[in-house]
Symmetry: C2
Subunit: 505 residues, 2 copies
């Protein structure tokens, strides 16, 4: 038997995946629970990652003509009642503001100044943005209207998990209005492609682009597209959605325009969103038993410099060399920005190196008197084992720096793709399907088969049956899957293509 | 008598300054009122300005070692009771969440799921961030802790004005903890200097750095520093504040650390903030009777290209020339970013040019067949009169582009400085002081003297007296003012320096 390797995170992924996830976040100092039920505090290392996701995504949005704006946090209660399916889908989990003042009483502060109409803290902004769109759109010349908002939203949750499901979370929500259904459909797909680009080429998370079934659609949408990723416990994570809303919300909000034919018509609208959930997806895709692994193109920092000196008289030479290297690295551009460099000169022994491993920084560079003598640096890559380090000439390190980052980026994407492929299977037999989703070990219900590509007849009843039997949901009908006749995995009726079934976050 | 010049904005600043302000915002499409009482919708042109302010400020913050993080929107009610002065100052104007669900009743949706403890939508985050700081700080090695948050906050307001006073607004709030009072004091001043730098060198708003009197301090602070600017109606606008909180909040939140002497001590904390109010300040500092004037270094876009063609066969040549020029301009870097170029090819006649004047874009460039024949462009500057345009060779325009922007930037700052100087006066006589603040025209109470630099003994009573007599507040004790003995403008007792008194937003 191989000697057990000590890992920085306890428990390991194999031992207890959900607890591993919490421990990784804690060890990397990305976020923590707050004293407010269901809300999280996003710490600097986690927030910097979110800022980088924002930066990349925002640039892509703007390239497609989208402009940012900001709409109120609060939604008057009656707004939510405008679109019937929408209210049904969201009404049950909102934070409701009923008072606008606090007053001193004998027992301390109590709410005062009751509002005539309660206000809901936005769970999503279709209705309040629709109200603005109705004012902004009057002619076909005002279309398309392409708006995005970066904001916090609140959906009350009883069982929460950092980044994946919290009562308050940060997100972006795009909202567009168009003159034709075709154009709105095209925009729905375009934004899904932006999400897939960011997920795959920046977060290094391979995703499947697909269409939701009627049961899994956004409340009020005509069509919901999504990107789905596989986590290391083989569960699916919905990493972004893009909705074609038809004219449902335009009718509810009265978004009408004069057409170029002198008629009047309701606009066709879309909405699309991604959130801090992506951070959870990144952790669960790449993290290992030593902590987070940050893909270089989106990492809060690409490299940390760790000056090493024993004698006080070595200090100034080492620090000067370090400062010079930091300055040289910061002049390099990578993924559209300057390289971010951390310098950690804390005198805390080996803990220092492990802190950065747990944080998942792509490169750790040790700089000691011997390295300086050789004009070299000692480099550790986060995608390799902690002790696997290489001495590189300083000039070679600088010249090859972005190529090295790209290599790490590619490695992470490949590993995640391999994992997904290894745990995806075409299944045509219901008993095989059931076995695929049965945990091998009853103590670890989270470890099961993965993604089953199976035929589905298109009926809600079959989808619900599978969900109630196995806690497995229909993740999506892949957009790029081939047409292929087969028999529904549930009822045996004929089907024209496969859907992806999985357990999911 | 001179012929009345028609202006794009009605009324003019002279005729009705407050109404002019609302009309300018409407005409420039920067923001509008929302159906939610007291909340605004920030439209793309206004939001892009805010994004640029964020970009510049965020960079300065990070240069001083500050890191961004995110804390919950909600604050448990009992948190607000921790710091006695703080609760007194903020308790009266909060949005209070009392329920976490909506339920269907006969009358439609009603709040359900009452919370055991109400939650307050953050009016500011000292108490909730203090709770995190208490966990993050245990040793002197953890200090200084330098955190900033970009967020929305809510302070219920009955009388609102877009950007200046709304129930919800966007801001940044910095929070830091230090081992010594000296270091915290230094940080308080350092962040004030960052604010002054952004105000003067980006927003082109001259500001006076000063210290608030005890009565005007932030609730719970030991010392509040501020920057104060003069608007064109001669009223003061507080454009940013930086607070030294002493150990008050550290004691309330229990932020303690092991000192390097093996003792235990409470940390010394600061907080500092600026908000979307800066946008209102920019409008009121630079706007004229034709609309907003955007300082180039912070403008949502630096230049708009206006292709002009009469015959359909001219179109492709004009559009190609325009596209090429846009591409060339976008390669230029200005104020740390690429130049932002708008291209407006709407076929709407002269309205198009005026739309951009009202929006305040620094440069308008007309491109027609005759210009192309001469390889020239026809340039209008927003800091000059609308009809004052110049033909420039294309190459000269490109080469001189950033210098031209800098010239406009300098002109705007100079104009604002001149206005402030013209309406600032050292006053040593109470009757002169009263006359200074008496409107010349009772129909326009907003037009009065400006900033009075007058002696003040330091007593609350004198400050309150002036406030109740004249609606004039003590804006600040300038940090850079000379020491000078004199007699208090109110009571005649001796004073060691002048304070600035003004009517204020």
């Amino acid at each position: 038997m191989a000697k057990a390797v000590k890992t920085a995170i306890t428990p390991t992924r194999q031992a207890d995946y959900p607890e591993w996830y919490q421990q990784v976040i804690s060890a990397s100092e990305m976020a923590e629970r707050s004293p407010v039920r269901g809300c999280m505090v996003i710490k600097p290392w986690g927030y910097a990652l979110w800022e980088n996701i924002q930066f990349q995504m925002d640039e892509r949005f703007k390239e497609t003509g989208v402009r940012n704006a900001y709409f109120p946090l609060f939604i008057p209660l009656h707004f939510l009642e405008k679109e019937a399916e929408h209210v049904e889908g969201f009404a049950k989990e909102c934070a409701v503001v009923t008072h606008h003042r606090l007053e001193q009483s004998g027992d301390g502060l109590v709410p005062g100044g009751e509002l005539t109409e309660p206000l809901v803290v936005r769970p999503t902004s279709e209705t309040i943005i629709g109200d603005s769109f109705a004012k902004w759109v009057s002619s076909y010349r005002d279309l398309p209207l392409l708006i995005n908002q970066w904001a916090n939203v609140v959906r009350w949750e009883m069982r929460t998990r950092l980044f994946l499901r919290t009562s308050e979370f940060l997100w972006q929500e795009g909202h567009t209005a168009h003159a034709t259904a075709e154009e709105a459909t095209e925009r729905t797909k375009m934004m899904l492609d932006v999400y897939a680009d960011i997920a795959e080429n920046y977060l290094a998370i391979p995703v499947i682009k697909g269409r939701k079934s009627a049961l899994e659609r956004f409340p009020g949408a005509v069509d919901t597209l999504c990107i789905e990723a596989m986590m290391q416990d083989r569960k699916a994570l919905q990493a972004g959605t893009s909705h074609f809303l038809g004219q449902n919300f335009a009718k509810a909000s009265n978004i009408k325009f004069q057409t170029d034919q002198e008629g009047e018509a309701f606009a066709w609208t879309t909405s699309w969103g991604t959130s801090t959930r992506l951070v959870g997806g990144l952790i669960m895709t790449h993290g290992d038993d030593d902590g987070v692994i940050m893909p270089p193109r989106i990492a809060p920092a690409q490299v940390v410099l760790l000056p090493i000196y024993r004698k006080p008289d070595e200090r100034s030479a080492v620090m000067a060399y370090t400062a010079k290297l930091a300055a040289d690295l910061r002049r390099i551009r990578y993924a559209g920005r300057r390289v971010t460099v951390e310098v950690d000169d804390r005198d805390i022994g080996g803990t220092r190196n492990w802190d950065w491993i747990k944080k998942g920084i792509p490169l750790r560079v040790e700089i000691g008197p011997r390295d300086i003598a050789a004009d070299a640096v000692f480099v550790g890559r986060r995608d390799k084992t902690p002790r696997d380090k290489t001495s590189l000439a300083r000039s070679a390190f600088l010249e090859g720096f972005t190529a090295l980052l790209d290599e790490i980026q590619a490695t992470l994407f490949q590993r995640a793709s391999d994992l997904r492929d290894a745990h995806s299977r075409q299944i045509d037999d219901r008993s095989e399907f059931d076995r695929f989703f049965t945990p091998r070990n009853p103590d670890k219900p989270e470890i099961h088969g993965g993604f089953a590509h199976a035929h589905w007849c298109g009926e809600d009843a079959c989808e619900e049956r599978i969900k109630s039997d196995l806690s497995v949901t229909l993740r999506c009908l892949p957009l790029e899957g081939p047409k292929e006749t087969g028999a529904c995995i549930c009822c045996g009726r004929s089907s024209e293509r496969r859907a992806i079934f999985a357990k999911a976050y």
